[in-house]
């Protein structure tokens, strides 16, 4: 289905709109006719082509031509408001996307067989009299192998939403058959008032189909500024003036199918053109009207980011909020100091955890009761969260700066185009630096998310603030190193025995997750009741909210309700561990006898997540006469298996982080049996990308198996891929290892 295409287009074209009008049917029909005539009449030779090269004949689908046209024209207008009149600027946007695809199989036919789109949307402002709106026009033609062109009557649609504000419809494409070419366009037209912010456009020169020709054409009026950036070998725009308008054109031909999906960073690996149109706006990032800015220096984007920060500060009253929070944290610190003399260098940590507690853990009587797993997945608005935290630290005399970081999956820090490309990280600047991030409920102080590792970043410092003003200054660049594989560890420690009936393996397992390996499992396994209580005590907060509620006449019943909600969450807990075991071993356990969290890893001082499980697995021990064969390789759990299409690779490898997997397994040989074949378990595959090492020894009736798999680096050049495959394959080969338990 084509939903994804239109969805992508709408993302590219979407703007946050303030007012508009749903068109009358007559207006709409007139406009549809004009747009169809114009788009089908585009003089782009690629759309006249009817043949694909023989090399592409076996592709399920080929994008023969793709063209996107952006127009942004603005003009000044007077508007009469309730008590006054104002000069006002309106902008007319059109974003038209046309694609011509050769359909070579049923799956591709299915992909293009239905279109679903927002036909119109009323976008209104309270003072508007004549409201304008957003209209989307669809055109579809089918080109038969004999060259005949059949235009689809898209009015033969079904409405899936039809009210005063919005109309959405669906069209099933009639007459489309394998062997046809489908030529369609989606044109979104909007009329906007200035005072909004456009979303940037993204032209990605890559798809899951080969693209024979891809062109982009932009006409931007003189009252708009344009900025763009060409990344990863994307074609540059050719820029020219047509009267006062800026005309930008780009073209790219013969683009092969995008490479394998595994361990990619598309923003760094696919040719991409990014374009942004600015028409002023509430964000006071100024560009000169009529100018075209190509690959702006990142220093400019830092300036923009500072403007953004200030807008967040003023708009959300972050200064006021920070002061109130300081007032809340102060007595907590005082109380803590009374119980346990808080050392001076612990203050930033305490502040961070107190702030995290207030944001994610603290319960107020008016809150909705939310103690289930969904609570673990809460995430803050990172930027506002960290600005407030920076201000709080500042108020407590903890000097700090804000590092402007970019994700491994986004552009490099020096390739940024927009302030939104930056994420924030706090760094304290005195003594041993402490980093603070805002990933979520379980983010520890001094934790650096892997996606920000391995780059040099600019930074800014808050040089004083009041409730109403803030001063920001540039600061030195910061180098964030990469964490080593030894810091990101999954350690499985297992005692495995055979059941009395010799049909199951019994596991007693302790799992330790360190560094980057930790947060996902914390979200999946921790219970709010437990982590709330642990953090409350760690922060020196005397009474739990349950105690406070129980003592309150008004909220007494709430304590009972929370007790019921906690009980329900705990009842569902076993299923979460069962799922975890199933995921880890790619096999559902027969039963789970024990599941327990030994350490929640909530603090940097004790950061590992440790949990224990006891369960049995069936089918991993098989009888052969009087003897038994044990699938001992399966004890290391499921391992990455490459798809055939992933074996060949000529693009670099972006893994989440360098990491280590350890398996310390004690296998108990049942009485009356002797183990054979353990010497075959020894493996040592080591190269510059990592290692897979298995060592074994037998002590009495215990076979001690130690297996370590290491991915040494988070990033590898494409040329190293075969070496990485050696490690992946060694782990896979080990999985089929067996030992014999011989009777006698």
């Amino acid at each position: 289905m084509i939903y994804k295409h239109i969805g992508a287009l709408l993302i590219l074209a979407s703007v946050i709109c303030q007012h508009g009008i749903a068109q009358t049917d007559a207006d709409y029909k007139k406009r549809v006719e004009e747009v169809r005539k114009e788009v089908w009449g585009w003089n782009i030779p690629a759309f006249n082509n009817r043949t694909i090269p023989s090399a592409l004949a076996n592709e399920p689908g080929v994008i023969m031509a793709k063209h996107q046209e952006i127009k942004a024209i603005s003009k000044n207008k007077f508007k009469f408001l309730v008590v006054t009149a104002a000069k006002y600027k309106e902008v007319y946007f059109t974003n038209t996307y046309r694609e011509m695809v050769k359909v070579n199989d049923k799956a591709t036919l299915e992909e293009y067989s239905e279109f679903s789109y927002q036909k119109s949307k009323r976008l209104e402002r309270f003072f508007s009299r004549k409201l304008k709106g957003r209209v989307t026009i669809l055109g579809i033609r089918i080109i038969k192998p004999d060259g005949t062109i059949k235009e689809v009557d898209v009015d033969e649609e079904v409405m899936i939403k039809d009210d005063n504000n919005e109309r959405q419809s669906k069209v099933a494409v009639p007459g489309l058959e394998v062997g046809d070419i489908i030529d369609y366009f989606v044109s979104r037209q909007e009329e906007e008032a200035v005072g909004y912010r456009t979303e940037p456009y993204l032209f990605v020169f890559g798809d899951n189909k080969p693209i024979m020709h891809y062109s982009v054409h932009c006409e931007i009026g003189p009252t708009c500024a344009v900025e763009y950036r060409a990344m990863n070998g994307a074609p540059e725009f050719k820029v020219k003036k047509d009267e006062d308008d800026n005309i930008l054109d780009a073209e790219y031909k013969d683009i092969p199918k995008s490479p394998v999906e595994l361990w990619m960073s598309a923003a760094k690996q696919l040719p991409i053109l990014r374009l942004n149109i600015r028409v002023g706006g509430p964000r006071k990032i100024k560009r000169k009207e009529g100018e075209v800015y190509r690959n702006q220096p990142y220093q400019q984007i830092i300036e923009d980011t500072k403007v953004d920060m200030k807008e967040d500060f003023y708009g959300s009253q972050l200064g006021l909020m920070a002061e109130a929070l300081v007032n809340e944290i102060k007595p907590m610190i005082k109380s803590m100091r009374r119980q346990d003399d808080l050392p001076k260098d612990s203050l930033p940590y305490y502040i961070y955890y107190a702030f995290r507690y207030i944001a994610f853990y603290k319960v107020n009587p008016t809150d909705k009761i939310n103690v289930g797993i969904e609570r673990n997945y809460q995430a803050p608005n990172r930027k506002k969260f960290l600005i407030v935290l920076s201000l709080i630290l500042d108020k407590f005399g903890v000097d700090n700066k804000i590092i402007l970081a970019t994700s491994m999956y986004g552009p490099d820090a020096k390739q940024v185009m927009l302030a939104d490309d930056f994420e924030y990280i706090i760094k304290t600047t005195k003594n041993n630096p402490i980093y603070m991030c805002a990933e979520g409920v379980f983010t520890n102080c001094n934790y650096m998310p892997a996606e920000y590792e391995g780059q040099q970043y600019p930074s800014v410092m808050v040089k004083g603030f009041t409730k109403a003003s803030i001063k920001l200054e540039d600061d030195a660049t910061e180098n964030i190193g990469r964490s080593a594989a030894k810091h990101n560890v999954q350690s499985e420690n297992m005692k495995v025995s055979v059941s009395d009936n010799m049909e199951q393996l019994q596991f007693t397992r302790k799992t330790v997750l360190k560094g980057q390996m930790r947060q996902g499992a914390q979200k999946g396994l921790l219970l709010f009741e437990d982590y709330y209580e642990e953090e409350r005590k760690a922060l020196g907060i005397k009474e739990s909210f349950m105690e406070v509620f129980a003592d309150s006449r008004r909220n007494k019943s709430l304590a009972d309700e929370y007790t019921a909600a906690f009980a329900k969450a705990r009842k569902e807990w076993k299923d979460r561990f069962t799922d975890e075991i199933s995921d880890a071993f790619n096999e559902k356990p027969k039963d789970v006898a024990l599941y327990r969290i030994d350490n929640m890893g909530l603090r940097h001082t004790n950061p590992d997540l440790i949990y224990s499980t006891q369960f049995t697995m069936e089918g991993w021990i098989k009888r052969g006469g009087n003897n038994y064969i044990v699938d001992i390789g399966k004890l290391i759990g499921s391992q990455l298996q490459l798809k055939p299409s992933q074996i060949e690779r000529n693009v670099d490898v972006y893994m989440p982080c360098a990491r280590t997997f350890e398996y310390n397994i004690d296998f108990e040989v049942p009485q009356g049996y002797k183990a054979e074949g353990i010497e075959k378990l020894v493996v040592n595959k080591t190269n510059e990308t990592g290692s897979f090492i298995a060592d074994v020894k037998q002590e009495g009736n215990i076979i001690r198996l130690k297996v370590t798999k290491i991915y040494a680096n988070s990033f590898e050049r494409a040329g190293k891929w075969p070496r990485l495959i050696e490690i992946i394959n060694a782990a896979n080969d080990f999985q089929s290892s067996k030992i014999l338990l011989r009777k006698g």
Binding site: A172, K568, G625, L642
Partner: protein, 632 residues
Amino acid sequence: MNKLTKLPLLLLVSFTVTASCTYGLPGKSYASPGDDNVVISSKTEKYEFTYGSADNPVLINEQLNTVFRCDGYRTDIPYVEFYDDQSAIKEVNIFVDGKKNKLIRPKYEYYSIENIFYSDARVCYFQLPLEKKGSQSEVQVSKTINDPRYFSTIYFSESYKVENKQVILVVPQWMHIDIREMNFEGYKISRQKENKGESVVYTYIIQQLEARKNEPRSPGPSYIYPHLLVLSQYADVNGKKLTYFNTVADQYAWYRHLVLQTGNDAAVIKEKAQEITKGISSDTAKVKAIYNYVQDNIRYIAFEDGIAGFKPEKAQEVLKKKYGDCKGMANLTKELLQAAGFDARLCWIGTNHIAYDYSTPSLSVDNHMICALRYKGKFYFLDATETYMGFDQYAERIQGRQVMIENGEKYILEKIPVCTPSQNIETEKRIVRVDGNNLVGTASHQLRGESKEWLLTRIHSLKKDKLATALQSYLSENDHKYVITQLETSDLNERNNGLTIHYQLDYKDAVSGFGDELYIDMDFRKDMDNADIRLDKRTTDWVFPYKQNLVYETELVIPQGYKISELPAGLAIEEPAYSFKVNYKAAGEKLVYRKEITIKDTRLRKSVFEKWNTSISLLKKCYNEQVTLTKK
């Protein structure tokens, strides 16, 4: 102080964004249906037949009053009420803790149903707060159904446990209905019938009714939940008799008047029929060609659209558009066959999701349309929505179902043939020898009927550059050590013959050598090894998608210098609903392993779950047996 206590809330609320969470919205706690935190303490459903307008002379006014109670902790629950082109919601009143709440604004939207391109179903929904433990919230909904034909079932079960429910039907003397009580067994439902003025009032009361539970592979709700079938027979309105579905003949007449409005273009269809059957002389080949043409060229798109939900699209339109729903495809098949000189008719049928047959005149009886061919005195049924089923093969969902066949002013009731599991046989034969630690050799598969349909539907949904890889993944069960080369298949678009697959096999590390012994797992396809049923959780029968007949055979050439030292015992389980047979047979230098799993009845009843689990346990035990070869 007040300011301070509010700030953190502000902080969290203003900071919290939707996380990439599959469990729900962070920051909100919604009770899910079936949740024992919430019960329906009482519900009253009142249905009253009244006079309507000239267009809709008889209406049914529906008043639904539902009181929810929170038993554990405060929460919000989703309240959902459906309506469609034939019904309307007139008023919704919401009471929270006894007070009318006007701030909650119900939303009214089209309801999107997976795999249905368009449906007239609409939904009215909102979040209903339950303010604290013990508090109650009530929703009162007034609805109108415009045509008694569409008022056919009243279910007692709800998404939450019901403590007390009343269903009241007020039937004026001028309205004639028949009420059938379905699945009442095992439930305490009291009933009362009394005359009140000019009406008869039927009252049903049920207490302590468990919540509906959505379980995978369950029988359709009409098999398992207590409900009423309301059969609107006729009405005397202003001295005029309005007949609805007094008999099945009335229902047929109504269907027929709709299909007679279709407006097929005989000339266009005849031309197409001639094109499809050109050069074909035998009748059956012509029928197959037409059937296969519709299967191959018409994309199935589901429409459920009020009255249009009963009226087929014109055959020439379906032909032109290359898509259609079941009615459109059945009508096109029928028209093409008729144009080619065959006696073809439309048929109405309820799939096995529905518990009723045409002994009940009601729109609830059927949900599908197919085509019947009468040839040499026998009916054959063609359902082109089953894309890869052959002629005279039948999908489980229609097998044994009563079918209403068009026959001029009358109709014919027939039954779709019931097929044995062998229709869907899936065989695999491997001939392998030991090569070091590997098993190498050849493998051949044959798939027929629904097992073929299942596989071909899936692989044709993949792009053709991925098809070979997908087929290999299916055959190797994603085991990268099961290396397949020289893969050959029969025509993947062929419908009337079985699908055959041949390949060379190199199954690495399939042989475990210890000392003088070789241990070999003769069966790496452990079919049904995870098929045991959780007796503590499952509440409904299990329904298999189709009758299965899996026959796997592996012939192992005993390596020179080795002999068989131990053969596993095998297994033989024969039950009315299924059978599992595993045996090992040594024959000279060969060892033949044969496994046959047959699902004879697709409905595995709760009463046999324990026996089934025992059988699965024995099957698993059998899978854990290996053949031992010892050096001579």
